[in-house]
């Protein structure tokens, strides 16, 4: 299953090794790891909690991965996203794209991340010295996803 939602942490090295071991045609593996920062909009963040829409999240991510597999002739891809309570420095997300050559792997990894940011139903709430607050969506994330749009047909 190329998409996993879980509370537990993941081992990046093991996950990437498993992905590559499955298919010797893989010559390039690009990966991205997102982490909880201890600062947001100038305020210290002591904790973050991630909410999601069970069912829809898995579907949305599977659709994004499917589109990437088709657009870049990927050999395989992987998305692991954590939910629940996370502390600064902890891993939030791992995206990996495996292809024969690097150009496809780099592009697909960035595409999956950009679409995840704007289409997968996750919501972050951060705890600062003044209390909890929901993280606002950023316009630059919309623009990043917009780059990948293809003309219809």
């Amino acid at each position: 299953m190329p998409v996993r939602i879980q509370e537990a942490d993941f081992d990046v090295g093991n996950e990437l090794a498993d992905l590559c071991r499955a298919d010797p045609r893989i010559g390039a593996l690009a990966s991205f790891v997102g982490l909880v920062r201890d600062v947001s909009d100038g305020d210290g963040v002591s904790e973050m909690s991630l909410e999601h829409y069970p069912g829809m999240t898995e579907k949305a991510l599977a659709e994004i991965v499917d589109e990437a597999l088709q657009r870049w002739s990927l050999i395989d891809a992987l998305v692991i996203h954590r939910v629940g309570r996370l502390l600064p420095g902890e891993r939030i997300v791992l995206v990996a794209a495996a292809a024969a050559h690097r150009a496809e792997a780099f592009a697909a990894c960035e595409f999956i991340m950009d679409y995840l940011k704007t289409r997968a139903p996750f919501w972050k709430r951060e705890l600062t010295a003044t209390g909890g607050r929901w993280v606002e969506a950023r316009e630059e994330d919309d623009r990043a996803a917009e780059r990948w749009r293809q003309p219809a047909g």
């Binding site: 069912g55 949305a60 919501w123």
Partner: protein
């Protein structure tokens, strides 16, 4: 019946995470459902005014003019912020 879910800041504002609702007469799309829910008054009146309110029907993100039918699963939530 409609199954309606509320997430994140929308859930907090309404004080509710889920409900079952018999499809109200005259409700044919997401926008008319939002108007119907607004008749409850209080925080529900503000649902239509939530900036960038997002909606999913049967777990697909849709625009507010999308049709809905008996048996659908709806969800209301703010723009997503994962990753």
């Amino acid at each position: 019946m409609l199954s309606i879910l509320y997430f994140a800041s929308v859930r907090e504002r309404l004080g509710r995470s889920a409900e079952e609702l018999a499809l109200p007469a005259g409700v044919t799309d997401v926008a008319s459902l939002i108007r119907h829910l607004g008749q409850r008054g209080g925080d529900w009146e503000n649902l239509a005014r939530i900036r960038n309110l997002r909606c999913a029907v049967n777990q697909q993100m849709v625009s507010l003019d999308s049709p809905i039918a008996d048996g659908d699963e709806l969800a209301f939530f703010p723009p997503v912020t994962g990753g």
